[in-house]
């Protein structure tokens, strides 16, 4: 059982570094087992080093930094064990323009692996949609308008 865990953990660990670097433009993020010999005796820490800063435990990170780290972790898990779909409700709420842009690119990429359904109020993410729904309300009843984004091929 321990081998199965260690194998899964190592795969997620490796992917996490990769996704974190992508989302932060070169930042270094890594998972770390608190107890190397007996992983089940303790937990897993997340260390992050954003560009220009020191490596620190995730607890002290900012709201935007934590969002970016959480998204990296979600997709790191996806590499090892893809879920059939992802429901992402306003995960960009605390991101600045720079991080939202990177997130939008990453969501577009990862949607090739699993279905992604994201709610957002940000143009930069709407622009990358394969299908975009606008929801509005009339007399307390929700209505949808759909825009399927087709490649223009002449």
């Amino acid at each position: 059982k321990k081998e199965v865990f260690v194998e899964a953990y190592n795969e997620i660990k490796e992917s996490f570094v990769e996704f974190f670097a992508k989302l932060t433009g070169g930042g270094i993020g890594y998972l770390s087992q608190q107890n190397q010999e007996d992983p089940f005796a303790a937990g897993i820490d997340i260390f992050v080093q954003f560009p220009g800063k020191n490596s620190r435990l995730i607890a002290s990170a900012s709201g935007g930094e934590k969002s970016v780290t959480a998204v990296s972790f979600i997709f790191a898990i996806q590499s090892m064990s893809p879920a059939p779909f992802y429901l992402l409700d306003e995960i960009d709420a605390h991101l600045d323009a720079y991080n939202s842009e990177r997130l939008a690119d990453l969501l577009k990429q990862q949607s090739a692996t699993s279905q992604l359904i994201a709610i957002t109020l940000r143009d930069v993410i709407m622009d990358r949609a394969d299908r975009l729904f606008g929801v509005y309300i009339q007399n307390g009843i929700s209505k949808l308008v759909s825009t399927k984004i087709e490649e223009v091929t002449s």
Partner: protein
């Protein structure tokens, strides 16, 4: 096993006239003003996948997800809320021998739910067993509700290890 479409009727801000939401197999984005019904669509998906927690659906009891009539008044309230979902099953990830799987859930004003699998009545536990084989569930790291994205970074290291353990 992706979601091809969600059909919503009488659920929260969705009135008694059924609305069909076709989803892209790649990247679908939903936007709109505050309170327009975006998160309600995600709640509908969790509901049809068997979510038993009214609280996680922002309701006091399950019957509260039934459309209350909106501006038309409570005479126009729905008697039941019904969600249907059509899942792709070409790779037979769901242990049912059909290329697509149709799941439906209806709740009435007494809070009692009925489930249908490919049109046939099933118990919730039977449905949950089938769904979990395909990795489909109403909760999990793949479902990030509004305001909860930093949960994965705020959980304790031990909770984080357990999350990974539960995946294998």
């Amino acid at each position: 096993a992706y979601i091809k479409r969600v059909e919503i009727r009488g659920f929260k801000t969705f009135g008694s006239k059924k609305i069909s939401v076709p989803l892209d197999r790649g990247f679908t984005v939903i936007t709109g003003p505050n309170g327009s019904g975006k998160s309600n669509i995600l709640d509908a998906i969790r509901f049809v996948l068997g979510d038993l927690s009214a609280r996680s659906l922002r309701a006091d009891k399950m019957s509260e997800v039934i459309f209350d009539g909106g501006r038309l008044g409570s005479s126009e309230a729905a008697k039941t809320a019904q969600i249907s979902i059509l899942l792709d099953n070409k790779k037979r990830q769901i242990p049912v021998d059909t290329g697509t799987v149709h799941i439906s859930r209806k709740v009435n004003r007494r809070g009692i739910s009925q489930y249908l699998l490919n049109g046939k009545n099933v118990s919730r536990s039977h449905l949950i067993d089938i769904l979990s084989i395909a990795g489909l569930s109403s909760a999990g790291h793949n479902i990030v509700m509004q305001g909860t994205i930093t949960r994965l970074t705020d959980i304790t290291p031990v909770e984080r290890r357990k999350l990974i353990e539960d995946l294998i």
